[in-house]
Structure formats: structure tokens, C-alpha cells
Amino acid sequence: MSRTWARIAALVPFLAAGALLAGADFLDEAGRERFQRGSADELLYYPSGLMVRQAALGYETAAADIAWLRGIQYYGEHRLTDQKFDMIGHVMDIVADLDPAFIQPYIFGAFVLAQEMKQPERGLLLLERGRIANPDDWALAFEAGFLQYVCRHDFAAATRYFTWASRMPGHPEYVERFAAFASQKAGNRGMAILLWKRVLATGNKYMQQVALRELKRLDEEGQR
């Protein structure tokens, strides 16, 4: 009897180790599920920009930078995982509330909404908000023209925006060229390639990656 008990006792550490491993695996699965659910809600409770503006006590532009950096991290993380960017519009709205003159969040937010989330209307709304706050900024009008041309294929609207952009102070020379091309109804594919090549010239690595992908797609379409 005692020998049987001794054998059972010898098995106890192995059984305990097995139970611990199974438990750890279960906890890991449960934790992973919870983490994934959490990441879906991760910016849901991000406060509104107007509230943050009051709480920033005069340091709104620094708070806008923090929200901007957080938005980029959010985009980067989701780009590597589930390709869902549901909260990007919300974050860019916060940045716009905090620092309405900060142009890049309107452009990047609109680009992601239109190109990655296939919601060009929301992207154009964000750009419109930026244009109301910064009526003399050529880049916002140019981006609106870009989205009209590439995403909505509304060439008349694109021509209008490019022309507006070409009349604003500080615009580069290529804006006038695009206004002319668009008004001459240049071939859709050729114009799209030129527009995507302009995106390659920006300093935004994420937008450059999307531009490369789109240029490759247009190239394959052309070879067919």
C-alpha cells in the first residue's frame, strides 16, 4: 500500500506541472481574447478635443502633438495587425479641436479614411473642416482634389479643387500642372499615376507605402 502511495506521490509533481501548464495556456488564451477586445475599444473613451482643450490650460498645441503621435501609433499598430482604423477619424478630430492650424492631421486622417477605410466622404468632410479653419492653405485644397480624383473619380470636382489650390499663396509649381491636366481631362490612369507619385514625395512613410502599393496596382492594370 505504502509503495502504491509512494508511486502516486512521485507522480504528483508531474501532474501539478501539467495542471499549471494547462492553466497557464488557458489564462494566456483568456488574456489574449480580453486584450484583443480591449484593442478594439482602445480609443473609444478618448475624451473630446474641446474637453482636452479646456484641461490643457494653455498648452493646447503640445496636447495636439501628443494626440497626433498617439494617432500615428494607433494607425501603425493596426496596419500591422487587423487593418481596422475605426478610431482614426476621432483622433484626428481631437487634434483639429486642439490645434486647428495643424495641417498634417487633416491630410493624413482624410487619406486613411478615404484610401484605407474606403470612406472618401468622411475624408472629404475632415478636409473641409481644415479648409474652413485654414482657408488659405493650398495643401488642403490639393488633397481634396486628390481624393476626388483618385477615390471618387469626380474629375470636375477634382479640377475645381486643384484650381483653388493653384490660386492660393505658397503653392508649388506642380499644383498648377495638375489643375491644367485635370481640366484637360487627361487620361484617368496617367493622371492617377502622377498624383500617386506626388504622394511619394511627402515625408509621411505610411502614405508613401500606400502610394507604392497603388502605383504597383496601376502598373499591373496597365500591363493587362
Partner: protein, 255 residues
């Protein structure tokens, strides 16, 4: 005036003894490290991020230093009883307060200027651009700092260091909410509340007048009329607060 300057000089020496120059070194190191870490993450907006954080950080540090160093300045004189030796000399109490104010404002002002110059140097070295318009923000932040220090001197003329810091931070917070206080006061049905909040609004320092950080970060120079208005407003406000502080301090019993 000579007596006031003598007190101011002593105050500068006293504050420097707290080794606040260390703050400059820490700020400079933090700025370089933050710039290296944040610039690549900002997708081409590194210059804006460095400028924003640099200006916000320098203003915040200078304000906090003014509040915490200033709130114990008078208390130390009373605690060590050195005030008796000063008061035995031909100097009025109000002059003593103004000297303390000027000493603290000069020291924290130099600190603020040093930090702003570090931001300028960082932008020049890393981004090859020297945005001199940041100096407009420096001048107005100096004025804001002056108002904060005037309040520090006012509160420390009649209360403890802890309460001085608490009240001054309260003034800074409400000074940034001044517009909201007026707005919400006007939304109620009671005309009495509206009058009271109106009076409170005009009495509070309008600190947003001095906030041009966003403007200069976006490359817009501060218009001269705004600069002139803000400087005049600040000087008058400081004068009023120091007058009240002097009146309170004249009647204070040191025992």
C-alpha cells in the same frame, strides 16, 4: 530704487543658491532626447513637435519654479528672523516686497530665456532653421510669469508657503478658464450671478492673452499691437497686485 535693487540682488543670490541652474541642464538634455525619440515618430512634423514641447516645457518649468521657490521666499525671512535686520534699515516694507518680486522675476526670467534659446539652438542644429519669432512668445511668457510671481508675493505676504503655492496654482487655473466663467455665469437666470461672475472675470488675470505659442509654432509673428496690449496689461496688473500685497504686508505683525 537703490534699496529695491539691493533686495532684488540678494533675492537672485538666494534663489541661485537653490541650484536652479540644474533645471537648465536637465531641460537641455530632455529636449535633445525627446527630439531624437519623437521626431522620427511624428511623420515629418518633428520640427513642430520639438517647438511645441520646448515652448510648453520651458513655460511650465519656469512657472512651477516661480511658484514653489517664491512661496517660501518671504516665509524663510520670517522664519530665520532675518527680516528684523532688513526692517531695521531705512527701507519700507513695500519696497522690500518689490525687491523680492524683481529678484525672483529676474532669475526665473533668465531661466525661461535660457530654455527658449536652447529650443532655438536645437531647431537651428537639427532642422537648419532659426525661427526668431519664438522670441515674441518668450516676451509674452515673461509677462505671464511676472503676473504669476506678483500673485506669489501677494499670497506669501499673509499666508503659509503651502497655501501660497495652492492659491497661486488656483489663480493660474482660473486665469485660463476666465472666458468660461463669464460664459457660464451669463447662462444662468440670476442677474446677481451674472454680475458676480462678470466682476470675477475682470478681476482674474486673462492669461490666454499671453499664450502665442501656437501662433509662433505655425510661423506667424505676434502682431505688434497684441504685443503692446499684452505688455501694458501685464505691467498694470502686476502693479495692482503688488500694491495690494504691499498694503497687506505693511500691516502684518511679524511676531
Amino acid at each position: 530704487m537703490i534699496r529695491v535693487l539691493a533686495v532684488a540682488r540678494n533675492t537672485v543670490r538666494e534663489v541661485l543658491r537653490e541650484r536652479i541652474v540644474l533645471v537648465l541642464a536637465i531641460f537641455g538634455a530632455a529636449l535633445v532626447v525627446a527630439s531624437q525619440i519623437l521626431s522620427p515618430l511624428a511623420l515629418g512634423e518633428g520640427k513642430k513637435v520639438v517647438t511645441d514641447f520646448g515652448l510648453a516645457g520651458s513655460s511650465l518649468l519656469a512657472t512651477l519654479l516661480a511658484v514653489f521657490l517664491g512661496s517660501s521666499l518671504l516665509h524663510k525671512e520670517l522664519d530665520r528672523r532675518t527680516i528684523y535686520a532688513v526692517m531695521a534699515k531705512p527701507i519700507r516694507r513695500a519696497e522690500f516686497l518689490v525687491g523680492k518680486f524683481l529678484g525672483l522675476w529676474t532669475t526665473t526670467g533668465f531661466l525661461l530665456a535660457g530654455m527658449t534659446l536652447m529650443v532655438l539652438a536645437q531647431l537651428t542644429v537639427v532642422h537648419h532653421e532659426t525661427p526668431w519669432i519664438l522670441l515674441g512668445s518668450l516676451l509674452l511668457t515673461l509677462m505671464e510669469l511676472g503676473i504669476v510671481i506678483a500673485f506669489v508675493i501677494l499670497f506669501s505676504s499673509f499666508t503659509t508657503p503651502g497655501l501660497t503655492a495652492f492659491f497661486t496654482i488656483g489663480v493660474i487655473v482660473t486665469g485660463n478658464f476666465a472666458d468660461q466663467i463669464l460664459y457660464f455665469g451669463g447662462q444662468g437666470e440670476s442677474p446677481m450671478v451674472a454680475v458676480l461672475t462678470g466682476a470675477f472675470y475682470w478681476a482674474l488675470p486673462h492669461l490666454s492673452t499671453f499664450n502665442v505659442r501656437g501662433m509662433v509654432t505655425h510661423g506667424i509673428a505676434v502682431p505688434p499691437e497684441r504685443m503692446a496690449f499684452a505688455v501694458t496689461y501685464a505691467l498694470l496688473y502686476m502693479g495692482a497686485v503688488l500694491t495690494v500685497a504691499g498694503a497687506i504686508f505693511e500691516r502684518r505683525d511679524f511676531r
